[in-house]
Symmetry: none
Subunit: 249 residues, 2 copies
DNA sequence: AGTGTTATTGCAAATATTTGCAAAATAATA
DNA sequence: TATTATTTTGCAAATATTTGCAATAACACT
């Protein structure tokens, strides 16, 4: 069996199941665990899926579209998007970077809202094709295939001349002590710049990301203006995040 | 058994199985692996399949299209892409804008070529995910949904600091009197800028676009460096385009 | 903190590819 | 038909890729 064949099978399985585990794949494809992992890495580098602990999940951008019609959308996303949309007002300039959550929120923006969305995520830009009233500005720069965003000094330079009202920051981990952090250095720098040029910053985090610690810190928790989770703001988990400066939604 | 016969068999098998291995083929055709391998290489050069470690898989683009019944367009793309690739050399900076033809050419760039592709077309940027050695730079600016490209003064401004070796210009019409023209004003301005910052400009046109006249002129025919069509350069239709300055491929 | 699971890394064996070369087959020419 | 040029083919040595394994590190869950 050819490597490409295997990878095709992986993508197909991912298309239907939205997630796969390395162990399962190893058996289905009857190759070693290592080979499957290497396949997953290759596919991730091409931006075709997202590697996670123990397996892989469908690339949000690719998998979201179909899921819309099927109603299997993660309820966590729905809850988060609802809260997020409360912050989006008419005629505002919204800055959004990469990440599943942002993509989903962007799709949920009401069709009649006239906002400008600035993003370094081409998928998000294209998804907003369905919103005739939303003006989309794509940030240029080196295209980082793995995360499917533009990145680098050019992207940062572009931000120099932009001022946004609200920044939706995608994040990989959040904790009181370590603040907000992600896995990629260059991207962390970019996010800092994005905060700088935005009047307010909000981050939408999935439950699993709370109290984790990724490698590159973007900012302190208290630098945020809003924190959105799928949890009730009074939830026990969010207790440490109660803070005068940051509004927890 | 003639070489052409073998290659026909390979393509047929590929049509049904979507993949072939060199070992299988060697046995079926009862020739050495080397011959089969050379056949595969030839077929890949023609854009009829994709060579992979240990065999070959059906070319994604081609296997997709026939189902839509557009067999003729295919060969036109293949012919054009082949000619276009002759112009793409290692370590060059290639500028490509929107359009189907450019998209297809980008996909056909050899995997081992180390080039930088600058584009205002996010789809093209993402398609190059399959090319690990190709660096992709996405031009920022207002995202124009209809044509799925970035556009506007920001995009033009970005080009101010870029110098490309070769510009693949997508075009809607070409004629001797009216030159090269497209349907959208802003885009025509952008294309002019792109020409300006590129050492050489090439345009690849489908037969149907020859001698048509769209609204907004980009440049004269003689401003081009290369013209690529699916036709033979000596074809009657191309006779008026014979010119000392422009090389017709 | 402890335990089982998953990741990473380096390594070596197996498998594929590339390249140059010479023999064989084919085509072209006188 | 004989002869020469061109292409095609198969082989072998040198490279490169892929694969599975094992040791170690990182992680997640109780």
């Amino acid at each position: 069996m050819l490597k490409e064949e295997r990878q095709q099978v992986i993508l197909e399985k991912l298309g239907t199941d939205k997630k796969v585990t390395l162990v399962d794949l190893g058996q289905i494809l009857s190759v070693s665990y290592d080979s499957v992992r290497r396949d997953i890495i290759e596919l991730e580098d091409k931006g075709l899926l997202k590697k996670v602990h123990g397996g892989a999940i469908a690339n949000s951008y690719l998998s979201m579209k179909p899921s819309r019609g099927l109603g299997i959308v993660n309820t966590e996303f729905v809850t988060i998007a609802k809260k997020a949309l409360r912050l989006i007002e008419n005629n505002k300039i919204i800055l959004m970077d990469g990440g599943t959550t942002n993509f989903y929120i962007a799709e949920q923006i009401p069709k009649n809202l006239e906002v400008t969305v600035i993003t370094n995520n081409p998928h998000l830009a294209m998804a907003l094709g369905e919103h005739p009233k939303v003006e989309v500005i794509l940030l240029g720069g080196s295209f980082y295939k793995r995360y499917q965003i533009t990145l680098g000094s050019k992207t940062i330079q572009d931000l120099e001349y932009i001022h946004a009202d609200l920044y939706f920051m995608g994040i990989n981990s959040i904790s009181i002590e370590s603040g907000l952090a992600i896995r990629h250095y260059e991207e962390s720098i970019l996010k800092q710049k994005m905060m700088e040029i935005s009047r307010k910053t909000v981050t939408c985090v999935l439950e699993e990301k709370i109290n984790r610690k990724e490698n590159y810190k973007v900012c302190n928790f208290t630098d945020l203006d809003y924190l959105i989770t799928s949890l009730n703001p009074t939830d026990e988990i969010l207790k440490p995040f109660k803070n005068k400066r940051v509004e927890v939604l």
